[in-house]
Amino acid sequence: MNQEQVRQVVLNIISDIAPDEDMTTLKDEVSLREQLDLDSMDFLDIVMELRKRHKVEVPAEDYPKLATMASCVSYLTPKMQ
């Protein structure tokens, strides 16, 4: 997957977890938590969905790497080749 496809994967997961959020104005460099109503339980769901849908494992120590959309993409792209 290229970076744009990985971005779409994360977007799809977030919109399934938080269907009421408006994702069209999301800023990739700003923390997801600041822009969306996501708490630690929701981040667990992002990790669980990555495992379920794409067989990608994110160990607990790497959770901070999911802080922004940009950091998600740069962390996940090598894992999704």
Partner: protein
Amino acid sequence: MAHDAIIIGAGMSGLAAGIRLAMFGKKVVILEKHSIPGGLNSYYQRRNFEEGGVRPFDVGLHALTNFIKKGEKGKPFSKLLKQLRLSWDDFKLHPQTHSMIHFPEAQLKFSNDFELLESEVHQRFPHQKDHFARLAQNVREFNELDLSLGYQSTRAKLATIITDPLLLEMLLAPLLIYGSAWEDDMDFAQFVIMFKSLYFEGFARPEGGVRRIIKLLVDKYAENGGELRYRSSVARILTENGKAVGVRLDNGEELRAIHIFSSIGLPETAMRVDDGHFETQPRVGKMTFLESIFVFDKKPTDDATIVFYNNAPTYAYRPASNYYDATSAVVCLPDNYERHNTAGEGTVRVTYMANYRQWADLVRTDYDAKKDEVAESAKALIKKLFPTYDAHLRFTDVFSPTTIERYTWHKDGTVYGSIDKTRDGRTPVDNLFIIGTDQGFLGIIGAMLSGISMANLHGLMEAPQ
């Protein structure tokens, strides 16, 4: 290993935990003793001789607490919707009109808008205005979800903030009777949960009552591939080398799993584990109740949804000394959640504090006579509170602490569980976790959040021991 997880009990917490685990590919089985789901919040029906068909009744649910408006964020209810992938619309919530705390010297109304309670307090207790504001601020800033908290007495803490004892008693009454396992007091973290869920957020009722919630959960669980077995009563929790490895049912069948989540209560769980694992047996809570349900030929004329009635200057929250205590009661008018429906029968539910031991010791004929006595007392209270409600009674049912025990598994008919809670869900036995009432989140929303957070923490995030 046959299963990743066994969940004991298909109540709110068990179903919610089951959904979370099944959603992420775990092989889960829920074992329910009864032939229907719901646990402490279940339902039954009785034939309707007047109009044909049946009348549906809820047990437990007077109110769904933690009401939010559609789209509201960052609240317990909105977290639950996201975690279970349910939509606000699924619940078809009808908010309360208002409720009332009814003491002889004063009455306070509250609704799903906190400002009503504030203005009522300012009006009746003008000298407590700043004190009440400070209490609300304390509650707002407290993190009640911190799993490491220990017991702290609410009365001790409140006495330093609210200096008028009557106001203190009035504010405590609904919170105690809607959730405290402790007599006359409650843990401060639980007080905060209750204060937020009743006074900040408020009450609603799903259309159709508790059945709607249970159906949503059962359907979502099945949709995710979860297995649910009724009439499956767990006799023993099996251990090997200090770890839980499975369960044995009453019929002798054994099931094995990596994780076991028990919603049947901490003492009830400990009793089913071999000796030596629990150093001391967790204590069984003493708070149990009696409820009279009346069906009248028309809807109530008063518009309150729930009345927290107390006929004394202080609020005694403890087991009744003589079968039941009519000094105080919770009177619920479920029809007032949907004031647009004015035709048809009206229901009134009256709940008294009770004494389990005395009810358990009654022989059958005395038991029935005692239930009739309770119903008469409750009817008199309805007349007193709603003097203009001149409806004809069509149906009466009373359920006692022994009824609660029979249907819920909770020892001594205790409704809010043990006074020993395990906030992180852990027990002395590895891989055996407590969910629901004895984990310590309260109410229907609390029970579901308990199942969710324990499933997340112990079933999804951590590797098995």
